[in-house]
C-alpha cells in the first residue's frame, strides 16, 4: 500500500488477536477502513464481527496488535484521549440502545447536552434537523417504548450523528426488520455517508443489503479475514467459503453436519 492510500485510511487494524473466556475470537486480522467509504464486515454469527467494532471503539483491548483511528492508537491514548476520539465516532447498536426514560427528542439531545453548552433554542434546531434526516421529526415526543424496532433504530441513528462524527459504526443494522424498514435503513446509511462525508463501517451477515450499499467488504470467519474487496470482486471470488456464504449454500467448506462419528456406526454400534 503506497503513502497516499495509507493517508486515506481512517481505521487501520494490524495483527489483532483477541480472546475472551479462553476462546480465541479474533486470530490475527489486518483490516483497513478507507475514509469516506462504506466498508462492511461480513461473516457468520459468532465470528467476532461485533467484537471488531468494540475494539475500534476502545471498549475492549486486544491481547496483541494495534488499532489506529485517524492516526491515533486507540489503546494507547489513555481515558481522556479515548473520550476525545470517541466524539468523532458514532455507533448504532443492534438494539438501538435508546435511553428508555427519555423521549425521542431528549435521546437525540443527550450527546449535545453532555458535550456542548449550546443554548436550548440551538439544541432544539439541531435535534429537529437530525430527526428530519431520519424522517422522524414528527415522533419527537414519543417514548422509546412507543416506537417500532425500525423507528428505534432510526432515532438511535439520529442520536449517533448528533455530534457530527467522522465515522459511524453499524452493528447488524438490518437484523429483525421488515423489508420496508431494511430499505429505509439502507438508503439512510448510504445517503448519510455521502451527504455528511462520513466513513461507515457495517457489521452484518445480510448479503444482499450489504452488497448493494458497500464500497468494500471484508469476509471473516473463525477469527481471520477470508477475503476482501469490492462487492463485485467478491462475487467472483475463487474462495469456496466466500461462494458458499454469498449464495447461502447449506453444505460446503462450512459443513451441514456438526462433527460426529460415522452415522451407521452411531446407529447400530451401541446395540450390537
Amino acid at each position: 500500500m503506497n503513502q497516499s492510500d495509507s493517508d486515506d485510511l481512517l481505521v487501520r487494524m494490524r495483527g489483532i488477536r483477541f480472546a475472551i473466556g479462553g476462546r480465541q475470537i479474533i486470530d490475527g486480522m489486518d483490516i483497513d477502513i478507507p475514509r469516506g467509504k462504506v466498508t462492511s464486515i461480513m461473516g457468520p454469527s459468532g465470528t467476532g464481527k461485533t467484537t471488531l467494532l468494540r475494539l475500534i471503539g476502545g471498549q475492549w483491548r486486544p491481547q496483541e496488535g494495534s488499532v489506529e483511528v485517524d492516526g491515533v492508537s486507540v489503546h494507547r491514548v489513555g481515558r481522556e484521549g479515548l473520550y476525545r476520539l470517541r466524539r468523532k465516532m458514532g455507533m448504532l447498536f443492534q438494539s438501538g440502545a435508546l435511553f428508555t426514560h427519555l423521549s425521542v427528542f431528549e435521546n437525540v439531545a443527550f450527546p449535545l447536552r453532555e458535550h456542548t453548552r449550546l443554548p436550548e433554542a440551538i439544541i432544539r434546531h439541531l435535534v429537529l434537523m437530525k430527526l428530519e434526516a431520519v424522517g422522524l421529526r414528527g415522533a419527537r415526543d414519543l417514548m422509546p417504548s412507543e416506537l417500532s424496532g425500525g423507528m428505534a433504530r432510526r432515532v438511535a441513528l439520529a442520536r449517533a450523528i448528533a455530534l457530527d462524527p467522522t465515522m459511524i459504526m453499524y452493528d447488524e443494522p438490518f437484523v429483525g426488520q421488515d423489508p420496508i424498514t431494511v430499505g429505509v435503513i439502507m438508503q439512510l446509511i448510504r445517503r448519510l455517508n455521502d451527504t455528511l462525508g462520513l466513513t461507515s463501517i457495517i457489521v452484518s451477515h445480510d448479503v444482499q443489503e450489504v452488497s448493494a450499499i458497500s464500497d468494500r467488504i471484508y469476509m471473516i470467519s473463525d477469527g481471520k479475514v477470508v477475503d476482501h474487496g469490492s462487492p463485485r470482486a467478491l462475487a467472483e471470488s475463487a474462495s469456496e467459503w466466500v461462494q458458499q456464504f454469498l449464495h447461502g449454500r447449506p453444505d460446503g467448506p462450512v459443513p451441514f453436519h456438526y462433527p460426529a462419528p460415522d452415522y451407521v456406526a452411531d446407529l447400530f454400534g451401541e446395540a450390537s
Binding site: 471498549q59 443492534q94 438494539s95 435508546l98
Partner: protein
Amino acid sequence: MIGGWLQSLGHSGLCFFVRLGRSALFMGRVAAGLPSLLPLPRLLVRELHSVGVLSMAIIVLSGLSVGMVLGLQMYNTLVDFGTEESLGPVVALSLVRELGPVLTALLFAGRAGSALTAEIGLMKATDQLSVMEMMAVDPLKRVVAPRFLAGFLSLPLLAAIFSAVGILGSYFVGVGLLGVDDGAFWSQMQSKVDLQEDVINGVIKSVVFGWVCSWIAVFEGYDAVPTTEGVSRATTRTVVHSAFAVLGLDFVLTALMFGD
C-alpha cells in the same frame, strides 16, 4: 473427594476476593465521580425522589407497625414490674439504637437497592451503558454516581423517619390504649435517651448502612451478567448480601459503640 472439595472451596474464596477487590476499585471510581454531580443537581434530585421519597410509604408503615408492636410487648413485660412509665425510653432506645437503622437498611435493600441493581443491570443488558461510553460519557459519573449518592443520603433520613414514626406508634398504643401516663412517657424518654450516646451512634450506623447498601446495589447492577437471568441473579444478590452486611456490621458497630 476431599481434594476436589478443597479445590472448589479455594476457587470460591479466590473468586470472592477478586470480586471484593473489583468492587473496591469500582467504589473508588464512583467516589471520584461524585464531584462531577455538582453542576448537575437535577440528576441527584431525580434519584433522591426515586430512591428516597418513593421508599417513604414502606418505611412509615413498617415503622408504625414495629412501634405499635414494640409498645404492646414492652408494656406487657414492664407492667409486671410496675415500671410501665419506662415504656417511652425503652421503645425509643430500641428504635434509635438498633431497630431504626437495621430494619430501615433491610427494607431499603429490598425496596430501593433491588430497584437500583435491576435498573443499572437492565441498562447494561440493553447496551445503554455501552452507548453512553461510545458517546464519551462516563456511565459511572452519569448513571452510577447519582444513584449511589441518593441511596447514601436517603438511608439515614429514612431511618430517622422510621424511628420517629415508631415512637409515635408506641405512644398511640402505650398512652392511647393501655393507659401509660402521657407526661412520664415523654419526660422519661427525654431524660434517658442521650444525644451523643444513643442518637448520634444510631445515625452513624445508618450512615454506614447507607453507604454499604448503596455500594452493593450499584456494584451488583454494574457487574451483572448482561442477560435476563444475570440481572435477576444480581438483584437477588443485592438483597441477600445487603442483609448479611447490615446484620454483620450492626454487631461490629454495636460492640464498638456500646461494648464497654
